[in-house]
């Protein structure tokens, strides 16, 4: 949803594929709600960053934004606190069966994850291969290591299989990524 350029494509994907593009985001929002309601962690998705150009006031109490544009995000979409620790991650889906295109993550966001680790936070990405129905958590240091050592524009599925951790789907919590984070 966040990229000015990718937005139309995502909207079209959603229309063409039964709103599939939003499933991971919904799963994470439901999971974060579970974490909050069960006193496990306080983690939220940030609002979509926009630039507001024009606001109308049809009545004293109402404000309607009539012109705004999507901004390229400087940070990741999700952050919060878990056992006193700062948690920060980005979540993306791909329909590819073989790799995750790095064009899905903006360079600002990769740099942001690097900064988070440097300052003692816990950073990672959650990537879902929708066609394979597999969701991985990959720690930011493994992501950064791949980018440092490779000039490839996508991360092979095998890299996730080797260095990432599978997040299994269940009824509740839907996508227990904090359990996976604690895993080893």
């Amino acid at each position: 949803m966040n990229y000015p350029g990718g937005l139309k494509k995502q909207f079209q994907n959603n229309l063409n594929h039964g709103n599939r593009g939003m499933v991971l985001e919904d799963d994470l929002n439901i999971t974060n709600e579970y974490y909050r309601n069960n006193d496990i962690a306080i983690i939220y998705k940030k609002p979509t960053p926009i630039t507001i150009n024009h606001v109308n006031y049809p009545s004293r109490k109402d404000a309607v934004i009539t012109e705004a544009h999507f901004k390229i995000p400087s940070t990741t979409d999700y952050n919060g606190v878990y056992k006193g620790k700062y948690i920060d991650f980005e979540a993306k889906e791909t329909r590819s069966k073989t790799c995750f295109p790095l064009s899905n993550i903006h360079p600002h966001q990769i740099n942001h994850l690097q900064q988070i680790i440097k300052h003692g936070g816990i950073g990672f990405i959650i990537v879902r291969f929708t066609t394979l129905n597999k969701t991985f958590l990959l720690m930011a240091d493994d992501l950064l290591e791949f980018i440092k050592l490779n000039k490839r524009k996508s991360i092979p599925y095998n890299y996730f299989a080797q260095y990432g951790k599978i997040i299994k789907e269940s009824w509740s919590p839907r996508l227990d990524y904090l359990k996976v984070l604690e895993g080893d």
Copy 2:
């Protein structure tokens, strides 16, 4: 900027008083940029939460939001990481010389700060008395204690003077609230 109801008032205040309503936000954004550039902390203001009702696509690459509404925020405006710790705060200005009206902070945000403390994060509010030209940091536990013990709809200036800490303004960093946080 965040409250649907308070928005028009804030816009008018800005027009009437030389954009004074935005000064604290600007000071904090500049300070956070200083913290990032000098490797002190990674703290950002969250985007304003909105509900998007309609998007137009005047060209293949462009997406223009043509109808959106402001949402009541569920969290505070600022969060991030400082020395591995989760930092979370809300910042508000008042023109009153005697008190800070609690109507400036939404109940969701007060509840959010309570949750943050419970999970080991560092929560606080930054309040500027613009007419007195004084800016205070008040820890969330002192804020919650006041609300618990008092049925008043505003916090007296003296409460900030007694339990809060003054944040002095300087050239750079503009408003060194992390130094004040470390203060004692």
